[in-house]
Symmetry: none
Subunit: 203 residues, 4 copies
Amino acid sequence: MQTKKDEMQKRLLEAAQKEFLEKGFKKASIRNIVKAAKTTIGNFYNYFESKEMIFSSLVDTVYKELIYFIKNHQDVDVANQPIEQLDINFLREYLGNVAAQLVPRLNDDFLLLVECGMDTKYANVKNELIDFIGLHFFEHIESYSPNYKNIEMGRIISSQFIHGVIEIIKKYKDTEKRQVLITEQILYTALGVMGILQGGRND
Amino acid sequence: MQTKKDEMQKRLLEAAQKEFLEKGFKKASIRNIVKAAKTTIGNFYNYFESKEMIFSSLVDTVYKELIYFIKNHQDVDVANQPIEQLDINFLREYLGNVAAQLVPRLNDDFLLLVECGMDTKYANVKNELIDFIGLHFFEHIESYSPNYKNIEMGRIISSQFIHGVIEIIKKYKDTEKRQVLITEQILYTALGVMGILQGGRND
Amino acid sequence: MQTKKDEMQKRLLEAAQKEFLEKGFKKASIRNIVKAAKTTIGNFYNYFESKEMIFSSLVDTVYKELIYFIKNHQDVDVANQPIEQLDINFLREYLGNVAAQLVPRLNDDFLLLVECGMDTKYANVKNELIDFIGLHFFEHIESYSPNYKNIEMGRIISSQFIHGVIEIIKKYKDTEKRQVLITEQILYTALGVMGILQGGRND
Amino acid sequence: MQTKKDEMQKRLLEAAQKEFLEKGFKKASIRNIVKAAKTTIGNFYNYFESKEMIFSSLVDTVYKELIYFIKNHQDVDVANQPIEQLDINFLREYLGNVAAQLVPRLNDDFLLLVECGMDTKYANVKNELIDFIGLHFFEHIESYSPNYKNIEMGRIISSQFIHGVIEIIKKYKDTEKRQVLITEQILYTALGVMGILQGGRND
DNA sequence: GATGAATGAGCTTTCATTCAT
DNA sequence: CATGAATGAAAGCTCATTCAT
């Protein structure tokens, strides 16, 4: 009986994840979810209090990890040197390790959290994440290139960095592929940032 | 009568733009729009045939310009040289001219078109734009660095490039500011791309 | 100016007649009528108080004639003889004269009155007409064939007689054709009635 | 639960049938139907997908039978003889058997199908039926009385025949009564047709 | 645990009619 | 006379949620 209950719950969660990913929270329909999970509307409410709650069930672990990551982040400042002197292949390898830590957390539920939570209490998570990373970029900019004028780019680059990661997770379901592309994504971002800052240095 | 009619239409369009930007097409409510425009539901339909049509009214000019841009685009390949030899300030100035042509088109209605049209006939515009730009990146990669392995990055970078532009338009309503930041955004992208390709060269 | 006003009124009436005939009173749309009459909604209400009133304007003459006809009808009892002894061609000629009197009244406005007035105060006209004619059939039945059992047929035949006439008016706009067919319709009805009554006689 | 569900469905179907018969498809209101069935709008849509679908539920069986009847009809040509030699009581008995086969199909749902389906996919059923029967009359006319001039009467008589049947079904809910009157209706029609054709013969 | 009927507020859209200009 | 903007009630339909069984 216990297993049965667990299995039903699992089916509902999977169906919900699919529906939420496809349509977003608001446009997702409980009717579709229960149909996909081969159960009934009434039974849904035996397992989850509401549409919001099943969304939370899917997303909350990732959410807490994210918050933890944000609060306890230790920045490693490898990149603080002239771009001409960088060994890109070494950098790529180093960033690969960073990516390897990230990738397990950057799963479909992460996608759910940042892409589909618009009408839930998680509405602001994406922005908070972008702000947090944007702040880091900003600090890098300040310390590395204090004369750089367009400090707003910090948040903008953060935003598109996250978006790039989302794009990767959306398109590529294979973990290794994700690992490679997210590494490349970090590299691309780091080089782009260094690039505009070196330009800024010349001012 | 003429002035009054125009004014009501303007109020409706403005209210609709706001509502669509906030909630997206589907979740936007005619009731909210007419309330904001201080008129009634029935009167809305004296001005616009349907929810779809007022959305089109807002978006169609930008849409056609975009299509035209995509079909008639002439790529200028300034960046095809080693990154060490680039004069970034010169590049920045050059890209500033490119940005200056783009900025007038990248307005709030462009935002509407690519961010809020999900449940309209414009649903695919964003993807088409990303594909188009992604194709260009891909061609650059192929000609400039044929050994580069992660060709999928072409589309990913295209996607985040567009997203960065969207971010800028969302946050900064001042045209000059937009101009500066979009220039910087293009520069950042170009340098990032060149960066990962030079890394790829070393393989 | 007078002519102008008259012409506008005429255009509205014509457009309304067409719309009412096509869709019936309720589903007819003032917007369509004014569009067809090349004027505006507001102006419509300068000429007619309401949708009901323009319908009345179209129909009222015919309605009053019909009421007059019903109240002052003199029945001519030509048919009261054994069917075997009838000279059908003579009968056809005689009924042709009857039809000739009817046809001018059986125009498109008559159609409007009996077919399209369902949601107006004329809703019952068709039934009254059928009842009236049915009563005549009933009286014929009673006097000619008092043993005939299915006296309900009186009203039923009346109903389909009217329906046949309506069918003719709908399909054939040419007056002469109408004249011929309505004659035939009366003949058909008379012969049918005599037929079932002669059968009834044998009981 | 089973019984309850069936009962609600039955109540809805009955209420819908009544509403459709009174107002026709378009003017019938779901809100009225659910009020009469003592339930709510939302619940209506637990039972039927749409207004069209509940109409189909009422009408489709009859519709298919009608199509079958039209396609597989075998005409029995009893009446092809001089009217003077007809034993009307025998004919009446014979036609009574024909009517007996028809009557079960000519119920209130048949009424719905031919009288109230104007704004549904069944819009044309009545015309098709009239055309079909009209064609038969036409064939009889051609073979029996090739010189008859007003061949248009074929369709006109078909139309009023159907209308007479409709009238009977509308007014008389008792099956036996319907049986008797429909028999008489067929007889009336047959005799009327023979009558005008014999007249035509004399030409 | 499971069922799905029931609820009611919400949606977009239509339309006859009013009225200020 | 003419205009058409404005009104508001009503339509068909959707959906998360409740609850009796």
